[in-house]
């Protein structure tokens, strides 16, 4: 395993001029500047500059293979566990460089949670799935605290009523939609500031998808969400900001309404109207 290294941290003022400012953005929770990602020799992301608005939902859209997941994994350093992956540039969270060598990546990931495309509950009970994060980070000293964390997390994920009578049953026995909400609850349980979601609904049916979207809207009041999606409707429905990626570059980003009604770049226009992708 190779730790992602940070070589060019210098971001000069001249370059900042090229940063696409989010129009009407709130304070940025995370900022990415000049981010390049390489898998071995191949470059997957080029010069990405993007701000992630606090307590907003930011949608990353773009054709397959354009680097959306790669960018998402930069934000909680999940790229560290990929062999041969190298990240350069500067990514900050609340003004702090997350690629700083002094930073504890384990704490970072507790603050920036992640939900994957395919629901991946641990082969443990529903309770233990949720309690896993709080346990390893030592958030709960008593059984009662843990019970409470589990209950509130499940409630916030809208799953409590469905599972409260079978907390000891295996998490893998739930339906796909329930499993995905379990994974969201599991991420919430460590009380993160940011949740990254990589196509969280692509394996789900429309009803389960609607539930997750509803849930995201509720979560937005307390945390920042970045979601990768292939569904234009979903991006339009749930997000406040949208960023369009193409061939490893960030083409355009801004308020979702703006991007969908008045895209500046013709590639964005082509993608959202379905002419290529």
């Amino acid at each position: 395993m190779q730790t992602a290294t940070l070589t060019d941290v210098t971001v000069n003022a001249g370059h900042l001029g090229g940063v696409v400012k989010l129009r009407g953005a709130s304070a940025a929770k995370m900022t990415a500047r000049d981010v390049n990602v390489y898998y071995g020799e191949a470059q997957a992301l080029r010069q990405v500059d993007l701000d992630i608005g606090e307590k907003r939902i930011t949608a990353l859209i773009g054709p397959s293979g354009c680097g959306k997941s790669t960018f998402l994994r930069c934000l909680n350093r999940m790229n560290d566990v990929i062999e041969g992956c190298r990240v350069t540039g500067r990514i900050e969270m609340d003004g702090e460089d997350i690629y700083d060598t002094a930073l504890d990546v384990v704490r970072l990931r507790a603050r920036v949670g992640m939900v994957f495309q395919k629901p991946n509950p641990f082969p443990k009970s529903i309770f233990d799935n949720i309690a896993y994060g709080p346990r390893i980070h030592g958030f709960a000293n008593h059984k009662n605290d843990l019970d409470e964390i589990v209950q509130t997390s499940l409630e916030r994920a809208g799953l409590w009523l469905e599972v409260k009578d079978r907390l000891a049953a295996p998490g893998t026995g739930l339906s796909g939609g329930q499993q995905q909400r379990l994974c969201i609850a599991r991420a919430i349980a460590v009380d993160p500031d940011v949740i990254l979601m990589d196509e969280p609904c692509s394996a789900l049916d429309p009803i389960a998808t609607a539930k997750i979207e509803e849930l995201m809207d509720e979560l937005r009041t307390s945390l920042t969400i970045v979601i990768v999606t292939h569904s234009m409707q979903q991006a339009a429905r749930v997000s406040q900001h949208t960023a369009f990626f193409h061939l490893g570059s960030l083409i355009e980003c801004g308020d979702t309404d703006e991007i969908f009604t008045n895209p500046q770049d013709e590639r964005t226009q082509g993608y959202i109207t379905g002419r290529f992708g």
Partner: protein, 469 residues
Amino acid sequence: MLRDKAVTGMQLTLIIAALLILSSIGYAMGRRRAVAAGRGGALRLHSRPSYHGAYVALWCALPSLLLLVLWSIAEPRLAEWLLIARLPDSIRALDPDRLGLLVLDVKNLAVGNIVSREIDPALQAAAEGYNRFLTLSTAAMVVVAISIGVVGAARAIRGVSPAFRARNQVEKVARNIMLAASIIAVLTTVGIVLSLLFEALRFFDQVPFFDFLFGTRWSPQTALRADQVGASGEFGAVPLFAGTLLITVIAMCVATPVGLFSAIYMSEYAGPRFRATAKPMLEILAGVPTVVYGFFAALTVAPFVRGVGESIGLSVASESALAAGGVMGIMIIPFISSLSDDVMNAVPQSLRDGAYALGATKSETIRQVIFPAALPGIVGGMLLAVSRAIGETMIVVMAAGLAANLTANPLEAVTTVTVQIVTLLVGDQEFDSAKTLAAFALGLVLFTATLALNVVALYVVRKYREKYD
């Protein structure tokens, strides 16, 4: 006797070769005919020509092969029955044992071997009759087998037509051949188990079941004469069970940590290149002949253990459970490491990602997510290793000794069930003495124990499978 067997073996090979040649000719003819039928006829061929050819070949070979099998089972019995039927009444009136010996002599005489009695004309005549019958029978077998093959092939060739579903027929035959093979395997197993069971029951006629199972003294010498000292052997198998258990526990104490940790290292930490070389090398351990482990244990490890023990003031037997168990542990490492490595690799990457994304460290992820998820498979591997350890003989014979001590001290010599089976059966034995039959009883216990372990292992592994697919 030898010469005789060589000849029939040779004849059989020749017949089978002839049948094979015949059926390849049948194949070619059937194929050619199908091609012709397909070209001329208005209908399209249902099956490709090679299936028609195969169908003919099967009709040529299978019935005659079946006949050969039946014939070789029936022939010796028939010959013996005829032989006895032709003997003078005075001889036939002998009691079965002596008659059996006499028949044996006649057979030996027939093939020109040494005979244990004087040859009288009656015997000579019987031997000649026996020989004549065998020659006749062999000739008849050749003729019948070949003609059945020819007739079968001819029939099948006549049946070739575009509409004929040769492909489905060949499929059916193929299925039945597999079925027959598996039935043979199952029947063999059942046969072995039953013979174990019946011989063991004969043993329990002589030695009470509970004395065997719970007795604590094992000295299976039975007397040659009834008035000898120590005439009755003692068949309390507890020391053997205890010895087996002790050695297995020692072996598992060596194999489990080494196997498990190397599996974890290989699947979670090592790069693909290290894994690609280290894994096969570990697996070689299981391929080393056990006799090599045996002399390694006896000549290297046992003296070493003894030396170390004595230097710290312990008295160590020159053959110790520790040496044998330790070396056996090395041998079964790959059962644990290889299987555990496989199951841990099979744990989906998404689970690891899930744990990392929650902020788990690598070792937390391994301990709390990967290991529990792989645990059923790991347990399965360990149970396999245990049943291998229980069944191992050679290492124990060479390094742990033969003394049936009832002890939990790993520094003393012990013996195991398998070793005692070997010693009971080595050398000339009476087939119905308690000493010989005891081997069957021990075998039955061993079989039951390993069967139970395997069933548990299979159950555990199956449960694991259900979870992930």
